[in-house]
């Protein structure tokens, strides 16, 4: 069995709970949401670059970097004050950040924000059971494209498919819903049922280096202490199933089924799960403080094995978020690491051998 070894903690750590750390898709920086401020750390020096404060009135729960090739980085923040902030780096001084715009609309705490791969659509979800999709229509100008209200409980997480304009959302109502646009209207094209309790997080299988004939799969983790893999049933493109799921449109419903469950390792709620681009391994963290890495069996695909476990990653604290990224570690090389964020306010990097 491989091992998960601690590399370093990002310095200085926050003094109170940190909710999530999001690495930039291309630049070696990472943003951590702690309280009402956002900390930008360098993944080269592993130290703090800047702290952004003053935009939100309550804790920032989620943050996401805008994909794209702009000279200046842009990040979206979702806060418990029901607003979503969009911040851009100052053109002249890359260590300064402007609060470009605040997006109002949600009626209660925003739980997750996510940019589509193209960078033009932003999805946000909230305790008010709705998922909103925003589109950038001009410089610093966003319009609401859709307000999707089909979940029956707090929506915990939204994630975009790596390739298509397909959105997945996970909720307190135990369901995962998939959304697509049909001409002008966004509607729910599938409901993934199976979890027995709140689905806390989801992630899509990265595109590179996998079986191209099967579409990108979805992984989800839940309060029911399971991690499940979902895939789309083949042959859906030909079938035009009439769906009554949305009020106005006739959508083509898709069928998604549960393909596998990862071996049960966690003993408490699993809060976050991430699928690696480099190794296609999955890592999960949760309330029991464990960090668990899984790999798919090469011979018998759809069978997963535990590769490594680390207990008490953040002492006795719960671990809220996990992500894969690349960082420059001791010895000067850049390699893939696991980033965990905990209730202790610390962000830690781990190597998986």
């Amino acid at each position: 069995m491989a091992a998960i070894s601690f590399i370093a903690g990002l310095n200085p750590p926050a003094s109170s709970r940190a909710w999530c750390s999001t690495p930039h898709p291309t630049l070696p920086i990472l943003a951590t949401a702690t309280g009402t401020s956002l900390r930008i750390y360098s993944l080269n020096s592993l130290t703090l670059l800047s702290t952004i404060t003053g935009g939100h009135k309550r804790s920032i729960r989620s943050c996401a970097w805008k994909p794209g090739n702009s000279d200046t980085a842009t990040i979206a923040t979702g806060s418990f004050d029901a607003s979503v902030g969009i911040w851009s780096q100052d053109e002249d001084d890359n260590e300064e950040w402007k609060f470009a715009i605040v997006l109002d609309g949600h009626e209660s705490e925003v739980k997750s924000v996510a940019w589509s791969t193209g960078g033009n659509l932003l999805a946000t979800c909230s305790r008010d059971k709705s998922v909103w999709i925003w589109e950038e229509v001009g410089e610093d100008d966003y319009e609401t494209v859709a307000v999707l209200q089909e979940h029956e409980g707090d929506v915990k997480c939204v994630k975009w498919h790596p390739e298509e304009e397909l959105l997945a959302s996970a909720s307190y109502d135990d369901d995962i819903r998939l959304w697509r646009e049909d001409i002008d209207d966004w509607g729910c094209i599938a409901v993934l049922r199976g979890h027995q309790s709140t689905v806390w997080a989801i992630d899509w299988e990265p595109l590179s280096g996998r079986d191209e004939t099967v579409g990108s799969r979805l992984v989800s983790c839940s309060d029911d202490v399971t991690i499940r893999i979902w895939k789309k049933s083949p042959g859906q493109e030909e079938r035009q199933a009439q769906s009554r799921l949305s009020i106005i449109k006739s959508s083509s419903a898709e069928e998604w089924t549960e393909e596998a469950q990862l071996p049960k390792t966690h003993v408490r709620t699993i809060y976050s799960v991430a699928w690696s681009k480099d190794t296609h391994r999955i890592v999960s963290v949760g309330g029991d403080g464990k960090i668990v890495v899984y790999a798919e069996d090469k011979e018998a695909s759809k069978q997963w094995q535990v590769v490594a476990v680390h207990e008490c990653g953040h002492q006795e604290f719960e671990i809220n978020h996990v992500a894969w990224t690349r960082a420059k570690i001791v010895g000067g090389s850049v390699q893939e690491v696991v980033v965990t964020t905990g209730d202790d306010g610390e962000v830690k990097l781990w190597a998986v051998s």
Binding site: S50, T51, F80, E143, T144, V147, I248
Partner: protein, 655 residues
């Protein structure tokens, strides 16, 4: 944990419920216990039960609290149901009318009896028409039979009570359209276009329609900054209610609460509208009333199209078996209003007997407010041309009226607005050139349907300052720099495809995408198969139809005016069907002013007559107000929080 007690980091656990904004502020006086012995210890079960006065929460307070609003609204809405209709019919004898007066026989039981009146919206008729594969006209007759005919509700129940008059809301809608166009004209000619207006004065430009209660409740609760823009007009439902209650109470010499008005509407939010305090008789009751009575609603109960069918079902009446012919009803006490409300009556002399035209598809399925305003503008602007620009989706459409630059300007009061529009130049005007002549924009309007589009509208109407938060500080690890003020973007954020939102004169706003024919209470495609099979001989083949296709069928029924509906007057001169051509801006009959198919002069006459005969001012009859619904949850000064926490502690803690 409640939102008041923990203003900061809220964890993800769902709180049991946000604290009610009506905490127990006045604790009831506790009865002093006799010989209070300080050494006496008592146990929990020996404590006397405390009688608390029942907590009173008004609808407005409840809507302010977003924590439990869904359950509260659901309760309020469920109080108006088909069961309530049947119960009310069973409790009261319906007073009969003969020759415009209450029948003498009921002299003794006048106090127990009620006059039952109903109003039905055209979208409901369209929904029923599409369900059973019949025309909208026939659907209307069947509804009349159910509510007021001998084979309908009056055939059963405790007293055999039924509805005496069933009114089409299209009648008062005409009044709403005309008064709406007047409001726009006033707002455009108002000298101080951007002055803050008081609640009773005219709305600010752009004027937003206020007939949709879903939109109004949302605006009052979440976006009070749009309230100054709202049209002050009552909706057709509310105006019909006021008309029926004022006229009948006066003409028949009965109290308003002896009239029971049922409205059949396409959505549930209309039930909330009926519960509004502003739409009760205290706003038009003569101040010299004998005794102060509790407010009486203008609309007592609202049911939806689906509930209408449930109504029939509960009483064991087969709706599809009802006759598809008009019913006969007694004359309405006021002859002028009788003609206005029931133009297709058998007894009408034939030149006047005409059925009210249905609207054109351009008007939309929500009353056609915008369409009428545009038609009125066109009528007043010779040489004017209308351009339609579709927005980001089918529910956002923008309209521009242009006229050639060289054309003389007939209405002086437009020039000021015109000048402003010319100054805010943009690409659209360059593109619109008629016959090589430069066009100038004289009027801008839009339609915004659906929640997601309303979001964009309210955002554009917000004062720009509040959309950005300047002063967001960033600190670097080297040194903390000064506050980095965000720069105001050079592109105006409240721009639309055709210019700044504040240059718009009128915006029709509806909460339901697709308009009122797609209301929440309409018959859905899933229910339809059943209905089609019930009606013999029509197999619509609805299997596998999507809601979108179903909606198209309902819309078709809504706009239809089939020529086969001339059965009722074969020997007529052919006045019955008003054709579309020849109505635009021209007088169809000598001396009448027809705009958008509506006889404007006649309607104004009717309104004037109504006001004069009841002795109530037009303003009180036709206009209403809105108010910001404020929630105190989690807000307020520190002192308030402490006070509330203290009170909570006193009554034993725990929310």
């Amino acid at each position: 944990m409640s939102a008041i007690l923990s203003a900061d980091d809220l964890n993800d656990f769902i709180s049991p419920g946000v604290a009610c904004i009506k905490p127990v502020e006045t604790l009831p006086l506790q009865k002093p216990e006799e010989p209070h012995n300080p050494y006496e210890v008592t146990t929990e079960d020996k404590l006397p039960a405390q009688d608390h006065a029942p907590a009173q929460i008004s609808l407005t307070d409840c809507l302010a609290c977003s924590g439990c609003v869904t359950s509260a609204e659901a309760v309020l809405v469920s109080l108006q149901s088909h069961s309530e209709v049947l119960n009310t019919l069973d409790q009261h004898l319906s007073m009969s009318i003969q020759h415009g007066n209450l029948s003498e026989e009921l002299g003794n039981s006048v106090n127990e009896g009620k006059i039952f009146v109903a109003s039905v919206s055209p979208q409901v008729r369209a929904s029923i028409a599409a369900t059973y594969g019949i025309s909208e006209l026939k659907a209307g007759w069947m509804i009349d039979h159910l509510l007021g005919g001998p084979l309908g509700l009056a055939s059963g129940g405790t007293h055999g009570s039924g509805f005496t008059w069933i009114v089409d809301t299209n009648a008062m809608r005409e009044a709403c359209l005309i008064l709406g166009a007047d409001e726009v004209a006033t707002s455009m000619s108002s000298p101080s276009l951007n002055a803050p207006s008081e609640s009773t004065s005219a709305p600010k430009k752009p004027v937003l329609t206020s007939a949709c209660p879903g939109w109004i409740c949302y605006a009052e609760k979440t976006h009070p900054h749009v309230l100054p823009h709202l049209s002050r007009l009552k909706s057709p439902q509310a105006l019909t209610g006021t008309l029926l209650k004022t006229v009948l109470s006066q003409q028949l010499d009965i109290r308003p609460d002896q009239i029971w008005h049922l409205a059949v509407m396409p959505c549930f939010d209309k039930k909330l509208e009926a519960s509004r305090e502003e739409l009760t008789d205290i706003y038009w009751r003569p101040s010299s009333s004998r005794e102060p009575t509790p407010p009486v609603r203008d609309v007592d109960c609202v049911i939806t199209a689906r509930e209408l069918l449930m109504l029939a079902d509960t009483r064991g009446i087969s709706f599809p078996s009802l006759p598809q012919v008009p019913i006969s009803t007694p004359s309405f006490p006021d002859p002028l209003l009788d003609t206005f409300l029931f133009p297709q009556r058998e007894s009408q002399p034939s030149p006047h007997k005409r059925r009210r035209r249905n609207q054109e598809p351009a008007a939309g399925p929500s009353g056609g407010y915008l369409h009428h305003v545009l038609q009125t503008q066109l009528a007043n602007s010779p040489g004017g041309k209308l351009h339609t620009i579709r927005g980001r989706n089918a529910d956002v459409v923008e309209y521009i009226i242009t006229r050639p630059l060289s054309h003389p300007n007939p209405s002086p009061h437009l020039s000021h607005a015109e000048q402003r529009l010319r100054d805010s130049s943009n690409n659209i005007e360059d593109e619109i050139r008629e016959d090589g002549e430069e066009q100038v924009t004289i009027f801008r309007a839009a339609r915004y349907y659906g929640f997601r589009n309303i979001q964009n509208l309210v955002r554009k109407l917000k004062p720009p300052r509040t959309r950005r938060l300047p002063g967001a500080a960033t600190t670097t690890k080297q040194a903390s720099k000064n506050n980095n003020r965000s720069s105001i973007a050079t592109k105006t954020p409240n721009a639309t495809a055709a210019g700044n939102i504040n240059d718009y004169s009128y915006i029709e706003v509806m909460a339901c995408p697709g308009g009122c024919t797609n209301g929440g209470g309409q018959i859905k495609v899933d229910d339809v198969g059943l209905g089609a099979r019930q009606l013999k001989g029509t197999d619509r083949g609805n299997e596998g139809m999507s809601q979108k296709q179903w909606l198209e069928m309902v819309d078709e029924a809504y706009y239809s005016m089939s020529s086969s509906d001339t059965e009722i007057d074969d020997d007529d001169e052919g006045d019955l069907n008003m054709r579309d051509d020849g109505d635009e801006g021209e007088g169809d009959r000598k001396g009448n002013e027809m705009v958008n198919g509506i006889d404007v002069r006649n309607v104004r006459n009717v309104l004037r007559h109504w006001s004069e005969s009841t002795g109530i001012e037009m303003g009180q009859l036709c206009f209403t107000t809105f108010r910001e619904v404020r929630s105190d949850v989690g807000k307020g000064a520190e002192g308030e929080k402490d006070r509330v926490v203290e009170l909570a502690g006193r009554i034993g803690g725990g929310w």
